[in-house]
């Protein structure tokens, strides 16, 4: 009956990870290790054009000269990059399926277990809100739904491997233009060995008729996932895209180093939402995914808008800063984030807003929740270049601590080179109030329900940015993460 901090910690101690199962499929996996030969082997297996192999090799050679970034507020033992396998594909995928009917039923079953029934989804079309899904299993895409309907609207939504084969000029024009191959250590690694991911192209004037979404799943042991996503929204087009991530429960740490590039031309809008639930490791910090991700959007056109929303509850370590380059005049960048860390999870996350065009506007709302021994850092940069006349930024970062063994840190950086810029910054750190808990309990609400209610209330400003179905999913995920007895 007590509501002291120790008990609150006990409540959040026992988290269960419902996506932690392993699918038993025959996989073809390249032996661990990284060399030029491995890069060539990946490219050859995917029958890639020469220019892409060159891109990979340049990235690999650059990567060899780079060192892992150490500035983040996270701690982990050195990663042996030679112990990782850089390519794994279910064997049945070797002759890529032409439609869902040719996809291994075991894989379809996996996605069903995760709550993403690909087949039923197509059948139920018209009954439920429509969401087109691309799914990536280890290193390859296993199928994309609703392709026909999207094609009618002129929208291209497929795996990036397929895009390289079918639309090589489009990929070549944009790949690496937002995140250059040598951008940072993990981006360089990704550029060398990326295996699959999603490709989206929305032509001029088209409002994408449904939500697009990709589910990423790591299944194989000792495999890294290096996906690459490229989204291009042409003039006056509009798209909302969501990614979700899960992995089996394993004792080893697994590496996930993705690159996401967004390009928005004049008057285009891209809304990119993430619900990240990679395996976080156990209570003592054994296992879990290292999530080292580079995500960047380029508001290349005037009045374009890119909005990032992320709910980060998984991974042992999260290192990601979805950013916006506000190049076009009057362009808008947004970043809404909820990050939850507990047990031994660590997150160093935030955003960069680079104001280049005139009257560019950015909004940052970050909500960090730390429980158990979780460590949480918000790291954000707002840079206003000399030409960005009348730039505006609003930043709000709030941290909520549950218990007294966790930590929250805020690292806001600003670089202002135009005196007309207006910046606002608000930051709060609060402990989940014992008085709030007692208040809720005195009305009949059980302690753990009260904790999850208070945390959800804390995150409301971010959840309301998510597409409806995913907001519900995110809310549930957060509750499961916080409740001791659920799952």
């Amino acid at each position: 009956m007590s509501t002291n901090q120790e008990d609150i910690q006990a409540l959040v101690r026992n988290r269960t990870y419902s996506a932690g199962f392993v699918t038993d499929v025959d996989s073809e996996t390249i032996a661990p290790g990284l060399s030029e030969d491995v890069v060539r082997a990946i490219s050859a297996r995917k029958q890639e054009p020469e220019w892409l192999l060159e891109f990979r090799l340049k990235a690999y050679r650059r990567w060899l000269k780079m060192t892992e970034p150490k500035w983040a507020h996270v701690q982990y033992p050195p990663i042996d990059y030679q112990a990782v396998s850089y390519y794994s594909a279910p064997k049945s995928m070797k002759d890529a399926p032409k439609s869902l009917d040719e996809v291994d039923p075991k894989l379809l079953e996996t996605y069903k277990k995760l709550g993403i029934p690909l087949r039923e989804q197509e059948m139920l079309a018209g009954v439920q809100p429509q969401v087109a899904v691309d799914v990536v299993f280890d290193s390859v895409s296993v199928g994309t739904t609703f392709r026909k309907k999207l094609a009618e609207a002129g929208v291209i939504f497929c795996s990036i491997s397929e895009a390289v084969r079918e639309y090589p000029e489009l990929v070549r024009k944009y790949l690496g233009t937002v995140v250059p191959f040598g951008d940072n250590f993990y981006a360089a690694l990704n550029s060398a060995v990326f295996t699959d991911g999603s490709f989206v192209f929305i032509p001029k004037g088209v409002r994408c008729p449904m939500e697009l979404s990709t589910y990423f799943r790591i299944n194989e042991r000792n495999t890294g996932q290096f996906e690459r996503t490229l989204i291009i929204a042409e003039e006056n087009s509009h798209v909302s895209y969501l990614e979700g991530c899960t992995a089996p429960q394993r004792d080893e740490n697994q590496l996930h180093a993705a690159v996401v590039e967004l390009v928005a031309l004049d008057d285009a809008q891209i809304k990119y939402s993430t619900v990240q639930n990679w395996y976080p490791g156990d209570e003592n910090g054994v296992g879990g995914i290292y999530n080292f991700v580079t995500k960047r959007g380029d508001c290349r056109g005037q009045r374009s808008k890119i909005s990032w929303t992320q709910v980060e509850t998984g991974s042992a370590i999260t290192w990601k800063y979805p950013s916006c380059i506000l190049r076009g005049d009057d362009s808008v960048g947004e970043f809404y984030s909820v990050a939850l860390t507990h047990h031994r999870q660590q997150a160093d996350t935030g955003t960069k807003m680079i104001h280049i065009g005139k009257r560019t506007k950015s909004t940052i709302v970050s909500k960090g929740i730390a429980a158990g021994h979780g460590q949480q850092a918000y790291r954000g940069l707002v840079r206003v270049l000399p030409g960005a006349e009348g730039a505006r930024n609003y930043t709000q970062c709030d941290s909520l601590l549950i218990g007294d063994k966790c930590g929250a840190h805020t690292f806001p950086y600003t670089e202002i080179r135009n005196p007309s810029a207006i910046l606002e910054h608000e930051a709060t750190t609060s402990k989940i109030g014992e008085d709030q808990l007692f208040y809720a309990r005195s009305r009949g609400i059980a302690e753990e329900d009260a904790v999850s209610m208070i945390v959800n209330g804390f995150c409301k400003d971010v959840f309301k940015e998510l597409p409806m179905e995913f907001a519900v999913e995110a809310q549930k995920l957060l509750s499961v993460s916080l409740e001791g007895s659920v799952g």
Partner: protein, 248 residues
């Protein structure tokens, strides 16, 4: 209904309650008055299950159950309601969500069927109207940005929605202007019945003009030093507490 015997409680090594005896029967309204620091708020919070206090002696039974064995949510489900002196804000959680969760949690503990969204909505709207509140408040965060008076009114709204058996109201009248006081008092009177009891903790006589108590107790230095009828409150208003403490 409520039977407190020889209750002693302390916080941070300091004795606050030093032997309280109090019986509240069904349908009765009791008022507890007393100077600051006499233990009034401690007693209220303790009844609701706050665990900052250590109970060193005594018993509390409620409807035949040992109240001290129950956690706050179980007490709520059994029918104890505490109107807070300082209602707490829960940002981002709407009053509607909060009240529905509370009512259904209580019903679940009692083994009753939970209310669905439509039934709950019509019930809560009915109560909002009785409290003369703007229904728009239901979608605002719990007490978020509410004025002192709005918070107190919201406490009474919660009470009307949850329909408790024993209403413990800790200085619900403080910080209210006369119109708001009237509405709050009407809310309390609406709930009075043969089955329900009220324990009003207050500094002032004025609430008692609207909610007529059956018994008035004076709490001083952790003990009930005097008990009387409504006339005792008037006497206190006139003479203050000094004379009783001296007499005790």
């Amino acid at each position: 209904m409520l039977d407190i015997k020889n209750l002693h409680a302390r916080i941070d090594g300091k004795d606050i309650l030093k032997g309280i005896d109090l019986r509240i029967g069904a349908g009765e309204v009791h008022a507890i008055m007393g100077p600051n620091g006499s233990g009034k708020s401690t007693l209220s919070k303790l009844l609701a299950g706050h665990d900052d206090y250590t109970i060193t002696q005594g018993t509390v039974s409620f409807d035949g159950a040992d109240l001290l064995e129950l956690n706050p949510e179980e007490r709520a489900a059994k029918g104890i309601f505490l109107g807070f002196q300082y209602p707490v804000e829960i940002p981002g959680v709407s009053n509607m969500v909060f009240l529905k969760a509370a009512l259904n949690a209580q019903r679940k503990i009692r083994g009753e069927k939970e209310l669905d969204a439509a039934d709950f909505l019509s019930w809560v709207k009915h109560r909002v109207k009785q409290m003369q509140m703007n229904p728009a408040m239901l979608s605002r965060g719990v007490n978020e940005g509410f004025s002192g008076g709005e918070k107190k009114r919201n406490e009474i709204l919660q009470m009307l929605v949850l329909e408790p058996k024993l209403m413990v109201l800790d200085e619900t009248d403080s910080g209210l202007d006369i119109d708001a006081l009237k509405i709050v008092a009407d809310g309390i009177n609406l709930m009075r019945s043969k089955e329900r009891s009220v324990l009003l903790v207050t500094h002032y006589q004025r609430l008692l003009d609207y909610v007529k108590p059956d018994f008035v107790h004076v709490l001083a230095e952790g003990r009930i030093v005097k008990t009387g009828g409504p006339e005792l409150a008037l006497e206190l208003e006139e003479k203050g507490y000094g004379w009783i403490q001296q007499a005790a």
